[in-house]
């Protein structure tokens, strides 16, 4: 009690009756209130008249407005809610939703959120017991915490026949960690690589596509000398840096065999080859535009789309954005160059995400219908054509030459995205350490060596096979 009194300066024993406490913080304020009080009591009538008039006006306005608002289209028939982190795909989904409505009479309301805030919003909504009926979910460790908490409907190939035709590696992306059921329909494979503008390369005198790291660097130099931006990427969008590393890094650390070794705990992230893969990203920073630290995702992609930058390193999903900005853009794709002549090139790929159904949905049958629509050939083909998805269904034809070259490269050189596929099942994830870590490397506040140490420490703190290893 004494402590309480001290904290608030309350003198409980002093005067009984009207306000006797003198709390330290409030006293000054209280003083001010009494100062203005007398004046307040004699408050000018004008203001209170105005207040009254305004109140009447407000009531009148709401009397008109509220019924008008309520007259807006109500959810008479079943309306499924569908959330995504892709505002840029809104037009596409709304078009597909219209097709679905025509077929089934069920309408779908598409609500996109800012990608960086989506996780927190979705987790909050699902935990709250609400959330959408159908939603786009991240893959691997990006969804397992949610699926293990029982938020998603487990999917069987009886409900969703399309699951049968998918490769086990693809399905792994939407499987839980504790509960290994499949909780989402994997919709696309993502592929990382180097996108280039053949026209700009020609203008800069780059005759052959760079095959090795050294020739890649010299190509960047030639583009720069010719007065174009060599690389459109910036460092402002942190996830973009992890993807950039995912595209150029595997050839340095040794791709899938290193993946298997760190998963098994045989090698660690402080391995010199892994450090070399981080160094490669640092080397590329020299070829980024001026003010790279402030380049947000869309501005950076805009530099490539508007033919200002010759290269952009990222995923296949950038292409649809490039095309919305500049439909006539000529874009080519190649895997990250090999570390040295003769070294193997790798193409990082993973299940990008899935479509899941809320376990608490009150429209289970309709939601399943919609999910099967999303799994249908027509939808997959449309998504492949318009969003540049590499469909999880093999029979979908790609038309974009860049996408075709990606699909061809996967069988021989595919490798899982190390940080995303392997190490997002616990916190802190390797991505959570790597993304800001790269930004610190960019600003000179960190080095590839110390970043590797941080990643190892982060993983060792929760991943058993790496515990105690440095």
């Amino acid at each position: 009690m004494r402590g309480f009194r001290y904290l608030f300066g309350l003198d409980l024993g002093e005067k009984r009756g009207y306000f006797s406490p003198k709390p330290v913080i409030f006293e000054a304020f209280f003083h001010q209130i009494t100062l203005t009080l007398e004046e307040e009591i004699r408050e000018d009538r004008i203001a209170s008249h105005r207040l009254r008039g305004l109140l009447a006006a407000a009531i009148a306005v709401s009397a008109i407005a509220v019924p008008a608002i309520s007259a807006l289209p109500a959810n008479a028939a079943t309306e499924l809610t569908f959330w995504s982190w892709r505002p840029e795909d809104k037009v596409f989904y709304e078009k597909e939703a219209a097709i679905f409505k025509e077929k089934t009479g069920i309408s779908v309301k598409f609500t996109p959120y800012v990608a960086t805030e989506y996780n927190a919003l979705l987790a909050t909504a699902l935990t709250a017991g609400s959330g959408p009926d159908v939603m786009q979910i991240r893959a691997y460790g990006g969804m397992s915490a949610l699926s293990d908490a029982g938020n998603f409907l487990a999917l069987t190939s009886k409900d969703v026949p399309a699951l049968k035709s998918m490769a086990p590696g693809t399905l792994q992306g939407t499987q839980g960690y504790a509960n290994k059921s499949v909780f989402g329909l994997p919709y696309a494979t993502s592929v990382l690589g180097v996108m280039y503008n053949p026209d700009l390369l020609k203008k800069a005198g780059v005759k052959a596509l760079p095959q090795t790291w050294a020739s890649f660097i010299s190509a960047l130099k030639m583009v720069k000398a010719a007065g174009y931006l060599p690389l459109g990427n910036g460092t402002g969008y942190a996830p973009g840096l992890e993807q950039l590393w995912g595209a150029v890094g595997p050839t340095f650390y040794g791709g899938t065999s290193f993946f298997n070794d760190v998963v098994a705990g045989k090698r660690s992230f402080t391995d010199k080859n892994f450090v070399a893969s981080l160094q490669a990203v640092k080397d590329l920073m020299a070829y980024m535009p001026e003010g790279a630290a402030a380049l947000d995702y869309n501005t950076a992609r805009g530099l490539f789309a508007n033919e200002k930058a010759a290269f952009y390193i990222g995923g296949n999903y950038e292409i649809s954005y490039f095309r919305t900005l500049n439909p006539s853009l000529n874009v080519g794709w190649m895997p990250g160059p090999s570390a040295a002549t003769g070294a193997k090139k790798y193409v990082t790929n993973w299940t990008d995400g899935g479509f899941a159904i809320n376990a608490k949905t009150t429209h289970k049958a309709e939601a399943l219908k919609f999910l099967n629509f999303l799994a249908s050939k027509d939808f997959a083909q449309a998504a492949a054509d318009e969003l540049g998805w590499i469909s999880t269904a093999k029979y979908i034809k790609a038309t974009d030459p860049a996408v075709i070259s990606m699909i061809r490269a996967i069988p021989s050189s595919g490798t899982p995205f190390l940080t995303l596929v392997g190490f997002r099942y616990g916190t802190p994830t390797s991505s959570a350490t790597m993304q800001p870590g790269f930004q610190k490397v960019a600003s000179g506040a960190s080095t590839p060596e110390s970043l590797a140490k941080d990643i190892q420490a982060a993983i060792a703190s929760w991943y058993a096979p790496q515990k105690g290893k440095a």
């Binding site: 309480f4 608030f8 309350l10 409980l12 009984r16 009756g17 009207y18 306000f19 006797s20 406490p21 709390p23 913080i25 409030f26 304020f29 209280f30 001010q32 209130i33 009494t34 203005t36 009080l37 007398e38 307040e40 009591i41 408050e43 203001a47 209170s48 105005r50 207040l51 305004l54 709401s62 407005a65 509220v66 008008a68 608002i69 807006l72 289209p73 809610t81 505002p87 840029e88 809104k90 309301k109 609500t111 996109p112 959120y113 800012v114 805030e117 919003l121 909050t124 909504a125 935990t127 709250a128 017991g129 609400s130 959330g131 869309n298």
Partner: protein, 274 residues
């Protein structure tokens, strides 16, 4: 001579302040009336031919009307509870003496120190347990609890300032305590009610954090929360973005122009909580 010089210095300081305050807001309104591509070419041109379609486009999207309605419900509901509870408690604490009074005053003062933001996790889980998540009622109760301590504190000050003779005269005339409060005292503390109304309603109207955590259903979102979603959705469609901002800002601007004195008094009365 010197006298006029100092006056002019202060006047110019204030004029500079007026420009810093009003120019950004003018830019916002002006840009809301310009076509996106036109704006992208040069952001600093007067909208000579107002492009009203920005507003009709945003309104046609439909969600703004819903957000607006939700904000009115949440702010109005909270305000009603805050006024009713603070009149009652303020009256009792300001005009009665009773056992345990100081303890209750101490408790209310402690309540003023607790920021709802830091208790957001337990509140989230508690509201879930009470089935009040994703509901306007839950949000209204949380807002009420947040604003109430200061409102009671302010109200009791107003009640205390009224002369005691009023009570005695009313009682001699045979008024019950309820009648005394309703018929005699409440009309006299109206200025206090205006202060509390503004003090509590404005921050509630402006808040986006609690709705962000507590409301997930897009049809239940409030205007400021909706605005954050709106910005994600319309990305670089400048015309629509500025029109949306203008529409969200307008209600309070109009109110402020009409009732600026009340606003200033009301919001600074919140000096205790900030």
């Amino acid at each position: 001579m010197k006298f006029f010089m100092t006056k002019n210095i202060f006047r110019s300081i204030l004029i500079i302040n007026v420009l810093t305050v009003l120019l950004p807001i003018f830019f916002l309104f002006n840009s809301a009336l310009r076509e996106t591509n036109d704006f992208a070419r040069n952001p600093l041109v007067l909208a000579r031919h107002p492009y009203w379609q920005n507003f009709t486009d945003v309104w046609a999207d439909g969600s703004f009307a819903i957000y607006l309605k939700n904000s009115i419900i949440v702010t109005g509901g909270s305000l009603l509870l805050i006024l009713i509870f603070s009149i009652g408690a303020g009256f009792v604490l300001g005009r009665y003496t009773f056992k345990g009074q100081n303890l209750i005053i101490g408790f209310i003062l402690t309540g003023m120190l607790i920021p709802a933001k830091l208790a957001i996790l337990p509140l989230f889980i508690q509201l879930k347990w009470m089935h009040l998540l994703n509901s306007h009622i839950g949000l209204i109760l949380v807002y009420t609890a947040g604003a109430l301590p200061a409102a009671i504190f302010i109200m009791s000050g107003f009640f205390r300032a009224l002369p005691l003779d009023l009570d005695n005269a009313a009682r001699i005339d045979g008024a019950s305590e309820g009648q005394l409060l309703r018929k005699v005292l409440v009309p006299l503390v109206k200025p206090g009610l205006a202060i509390i109304a503004i003090y509590s309603a404005i921050p509630i109207w402006n808040d986006f954090f609690l709705p962000l955590v507590f409301l997930q259903d897009p049809s239940k979102k409030t205007i400021m929360q909706g605005l954050t979603a709106f910005f994600g959705e319309y990305q670089s469609q400048w015309g629509a973005l500025f029109a949306g901002l203008t529409m969200a800002a307008l209600p309070l601007i109009v109110l402020y122009l009409l009732l600026s004195e009340q606003f200033i008094k009301g919001l600074t009365a919140g000096a205790v909580k900030g």
